[in-house]
Symmetry: C2
């Protein structure tokens, strides 16, 4: 449960959220491992940003260092991941869903979608990554395509994602070969 | 004092660190305000990363949201700022010093210098920004130049910084015209 905001006391909700947290960590882990591999082969440098936390109270017990004793999770102002690939700026948000039929947009904040559009407008690579846990499939969707749907509906269906997104191939190293998909979408010319 | 790690109980140290914190915030504020301006005029999109915090314990008091009751500051794995400028990835660390004669390198972690070198190697824009509070002067120094000095000495003298760095002009909007210096160093060809 650690690291996941807004958990309520309600037991049912809590269990559901905890399940999401565990599964959420797994996509995060997949991406982090892939990024570590991409870093090692000097292909890209992409990091997950720390979760923003508002610190209210800090204690200094005994001779040890600072201990934060009161703090709250904040809504992130940007996305989870950013970095450099092929000299370009790359920026994305990654989410999972246990739904088999659609991805609920409430999992992505409006200002995160707006941030991704701003990145696109400045010539950066911006997208979202959505994992359907039931199918063990992760799709990459360009941010501007995602934005159009975001504005018009509360969710995006699995079929629509298959239509406008590209399935990310999986392997051992890297776990998620998502930069191959980035090449397909954003560096078409170079692949010819 | 909030937001600054490793403060000790020792009063003298504490006051010193608090002073640094206040002054540190002012450079941070200057950069954040400049970044906000650059964002508004659609020139660049550069953000400060959240401070990494390791959450150990979360409480759920009454009907309100999650309250973090035990957490610790972590050493950042990368730098404070990154983003996109002229389609390029940009990444930097910013520090202040109250010293009039030199900047002590202990304020920058080795792995941060290494991270900046990795960014340079991938074709990104990487530098450090150092503010001398006494002179109210902020210099921009290319990461590879800084790395050479970092490896050979414990500090970099004010005179050396004046020699290898470029003074950032200040104004109202943006407060720190640091992208002008980025143009001078990394986009020389375009300025001709």
């Amino acid at each position: 449960m650690i690291g996941y905001p807004n958990l309520k006391r309600n037991k049912v909700k809590e269990i559901k959220v905890v399940n999401n947290a565990i599964k959420g960590m797994s996509l995060e882990k997949e991406i982090n491992e892939s990024n570590e591999y991409y870093k090692q082969i000097k292909k890209a440098l992409i990091y997950k940003k720390p979760t923003p936390i508002q610190v209210v109270k800090v204690d200094y017990p005994k001779r040890s260092g600072a201990k934060i004793s009161e703090a709250y999770y904040q809504i992130p102002s940007t996305t989870d991941y950013n970095g450099i690939y092929r000299k370009n700026y790359i920026d994305f948000e990654a989410k999972e869903t246990i739904s088999k039929s659609s991805f609920p947009f409430k999992n992505i904040h409006l200002h995160q979608i707006e941030h991704l559009r701003n990145v696109s407008e400045l010539g950066g690579i911006a997208f979202i990554m959505i994992k359907f846990i039931s199918y063990n499939e992760t799709y990459l969707i360009d941010a501007l395509l995602a934005e159009k749907l975001y504005k018009n509906s509360k969710s995006i269906s699995y079929l629509k994602i298959k239509e406008i997104g590209i399935l990310i191939k999986e392997g051992l190293t890297p776990r998620l070969k998502y930069l191959d998909v980035v090449d397909q979408i954003y560096f078409k010319e170079d692949l010819k």
